[in-house]
Amino acid sequence: MNEMNATPLAARADAPSRPALLRLEGISKSYGPTRANREVTFSIAPGEVVGLVGANGAGKSTLMRVLTGGAVPDAGRLVVDGTEVAWDRYGPRAAQRLGLRIVHQELSLCPNLTAAENMYLERPRTRAPAFWLGPYRRMVREGLAAVFPDARIDADQRVGRLDLAEQQMLEIARAAGDPALRLLILDEPTSSLSSEAARALHAHVAARAAQGLAVIFISHKLPEVLAVSDRVVVMRNGAVVADAPREEMTLPDLMAAVGGRAALAEVAPPAPSGAEGPILVRLGGALTSALGHEVELRAGEVVGLAGLEGGGQKTLLRRIREADGRGASEVERRGRASFVSGDRKAEGVLPLWSVLRNIVLGRVAAAPPLRAVRPEAEAAAARQWAERLSLAPERLDDGILDLSGGNQQKALIARGLVDASPIVLLDDPTRGVDIGAKRDFYRVLRQVASEGRLAVWHSTEDAEFLECDRVLVLSHGRIVADLRGAAITEEAIIAQSFATPDGTSPARRQAAAPSERVFGAIPFLGLALLVGLMAWINPLVLSGFGMQLLLGPAVTLVLVALAQMFIVGGSEVDLSVGNFVSMVNVLSATVLVTAPFFGGLALAAGLGGYAFLAVLIRTRGIPAIVATLGASFIWLGVGRTIQPSPGGSAPDWLGAAFDWQIPGLPAPLALILAAGAVALLIDRSPLGVVLRGFGAAPDALARLGWSPLRYSVCRYVIAGAFAMAAGLYLTAMNGASDVRVGGSYTLLSVAGIVVGGCALLGGRINPPGVVAGAVTLALIGAALAMLGVGTDFNALVQGSLLIAILGLRTALGGRRSDAA
């Protein structure tokens, strides 16, 4: 396999004289039965641009994962600067220290953070307390200017609101701007870029290479590869099959090398399908505009969906699944359809069940809820299909996770076939499956088709399409070719896959949610409206005394809501916060008065409890809901034990602490503003940025080396501190304590952050909004009283407000941006 050595590195006159930056030697890597890399040898010199091409599943991604520390190979060596790297001490961080970086196709930015904040997560080195984001804004601007001079991206814009192309540019600029960078790997960097941006990237690559940067350029766009590379490496079936200077490669050569001969040539080509069956699926509209005619799929056919990754095959398969009856839509389905996914973990196995039960589900899934299930009768049918797929009968009672990937997949295919639905949709069903299981699958699929079913099959392995009667090739979401019988060859599929249908633009714009700004303004508008209404009824509301009276109770809710906000920023909810406030109220009105030292100790222990809760949630995998529910009763119990009935008194100093005056500013208003300011400062600090990052993309942060446990503890302690302030404030104001005082604050705090414009998932929080939302909620009671409505309706109004806002957000599609 050392074709590398067979081909002299003569592309650049000076290349051979330079020692290699790094060498991968004899790399082999298997995932289960799939050999992703077979003894691959690859090297790159400083200043060299290598184009890496290959069909889907050829092993490029695996090789790059090995190179950048994302996977440890089964065999082989990595030599960097002439020194061999020890695999057990190699990982993404180590690779980055060596100056080896990859920009992935799927982006790894935190969507809820700004461009500059994302830059901080990656390079948290410079520390400047005031205006600390300044250097990172500059890095974003300078990094972008270096690569994409025409890009106009605001460093303070949230990444989730940038379109795909802008995100891609940012990601590339972030990696390219790394001062330690020596090798830059770009995986499909131009797939979502405009042609101008792509040209800018090409120019930047050339310029940086001239300065000595090594670049690996992975792309399905072969002309692009030939344009930017000094040398082209072609992979197929996990091995390097060609490695030559660009000058020695032509486009047809390259296409031939990528396609190659059928890997599964030993399988006999299918017999042409028999008589034309009834039409089961009809495709038309924009989907087939490039083809010029509608596509009808009939019973008895095995239809392949081919194309480059992301060409629209998966989407089409799902559209067929969700299409109903008939209508004017582009996709029409006649008859039931079952679905088999190759993503076994996320879309296939039911991990708690046996193999047999997993199969039987196919007969029970869509049944009326009250239909009786007779396990033995159902099992008989399931066993039949297991047998047809050569699934060992003695394994059927084992847990499905005990089986190999291939056998798991057989069970899932059996599930898709067992209820005799006329249409079977298969989404890459042989992913990571051994050749034996594949053959069984091909055979059964053929039988099933001949029995009068329609199989629609998306594969990421182009060789598999030789098993089909018919192949639809998709590109940019449209069908560009309809190949049948002898016309189905890997070459034809690949040639068509690279086609670009007219009228498609490469950059898909992510619709910016207009609702976001509206929701951002709601808390302030709502508050202004409410205060306006109250002032209209009674102008005294706006007087210093009126504010003092009305805002006094609001302080507590503001503090509790800010506590809840930090937890929700981590995509969790704290059910214990209300009772924690009660407990602090009791502790500070009793023990803290009689024995200040022990009182202080007890309060500190309360914070410790919050920290411990965080540790349990992270290390023991307890859902935060149940952990905090349990904790809420512990807080309540402590409070009740110390003081079974209301009473106590406030320590003098505590009253003084909350009872200061700024001339012209009512104390409660000052306190509310101060609390909001503290929360805002924390949220905007480096710590706050990391906390928010964890709320949206915990895996990405962990990969960058941030400790989930440490920041979880930070999060809960911050929340605990705000809740504690709320409890102390209650004591100071009421001069007494009541263990039942805090109960309703749990829901109110959640309502406050929702009214305040925070998302319950995805780490998007907004301290000023939360302050406004909490004050609004606190004023509702007073407003109702002024309107002559009993305060009994308080809870009803507050709860309805919470639900109305959440419902409205879903209705306006806000949830999509939550998920982004």
Binding site: S341, L350, V373, V573, L575, P623, I634, N794
Partner: protein, 316 residues
């Protein structure tokens, strides 16, 4: 031998709660002479009320994705008030009271289902909010309550015994058997388990995941309604906060019984023993003279501890 035992315990997760019940019972009867048949009846009655509501919580938890029903206490309280107010202690009005409780349950469960399934609001928030709003309704009803007294039929169900066994315990046992049968032998049970194990996989396999989740919330509200109705008959009236202990205790019984908190696997027998164990723990603390607060602490600690010991496997 040992692996076999572990395997058995892994398959029948109710065994741990049952073991806990036996051990605690043995210790209790060894320590005090006061544990009598009478005490046993008391424990069985308390456990029965808890069990009926906990079965509903179990079904909701089994739908997975962190789903939980926090509106159970409010439904219990409001149903108790509805029973007292509507029946007015007259047997003739019992059907009307049943209708009222059914309406409360269906409205609450339906609202929860709409919020969670259609509006995609996390169950924890949705049920917290509905429960909170129901509290308002309860406050208003509380003002209206003029009549009191318990209809005889209901009183018989809640307080009488058949062959020494409390009727309500028999009812709870029957509910458990029905739940076990539905979960094991009806398509709904399969669909529920599939939904909770792997939402995406269940949906692609053709399970109506939305309907399945909605039915779980309806069932939970219905069972809470029944609990409230019987509880009002047992207590001879209704009072605010009547349902409050059931918030933590239903979750506790479910967790102790081995039902996976992450969803996908319900253990009705475990919930039975979990309810018994929890009530026994409370009874022990009462016998030991621990204050109310300490009882709260112990219950909270037990739930967190059980989950911490079960470990990440449980959370999946």
């Amino acid at each position: 031998m040992r692996p076999d035992l572990m395997r058995f315990a892994g398959r029948h997760r109710w065994i741990w709660a049952a073991l806990g019940v036996v051990i605690l019972w043995t210790v209790l009867s060894g320590l005090t002479q006061s544990i009598s048949l009478h005490a046993l009846t008391g424990v069985a009655t308390s456990a029965a009320f808890l069990l009926i509501a906990a079965l509903g919580q179990m079904v909701v938890v089994t739908t997975g994705r962190g789903n939980i029903d926090l509106s159970i206490p409010s439904v219990i309280t409001l149903s108790a008030f509805a029973t007292v107010t509507v029946s007015g202690g007259q047997d003739a009005n019992v059907p009307l009271a049943v209708a009222a409780v059914t309406a409360v349950a269906l409205l609450t469960g339906g609202l929860n289902a709409i919020l969670v399934v259609l509006l995609r609001i996390p169950a924890i928030i949705a049920t917290l909010a509905t429960g909170y709003m129901l509290a308002t309704v309860t406050l208003l009803v509380n003002r209206q309550v003029k009549s009191s007294g318990t209809a005889e039929t209901l009183a018989w169900l809640a307080t009488n015994r058949v062959g020494g066994v409390p009727v309500v315990a028999l009812l709870a046992l029957a509910a458990t058997v029905v739940a076990a049968w539905v979960l094991a032998r009806l398509a709904y049970g399969w669909q529920l388990s599939a939904t909770g194990q792997n939402w995406g996989a269940a949906r692609l396999a053709g399970v109506p995941v939305g309907r399945t989740t909605a039915l779980a919330f309806l069932a939970s509200a219905m069972l809470a309604g029944i609990t409230g109705m019987l509880l009002s008959a047992y207590a001879g009236g209704a009072f605010l906060e009547m349902g409050t202990p059931y918030l933590l205790q239903t979750v506790g019984a479910v967790v102790l019984g081995g039902t996976l908190i992450a969803g996908g696997s319900a253990v009705p027998a475990g919930t039975l023993f979990g309810a018994l164990l929890l009530v026994l723990i409370v009874a022990t603390m009462q016998i030991a003279g621990l204050p109310l607060g300490a009882q709260d602490i112990v219950q909270g600690v037990v739930i967190i501890l059980v989950l911490a010991l079960a470990g990440p496997r449980n959370a999946r």
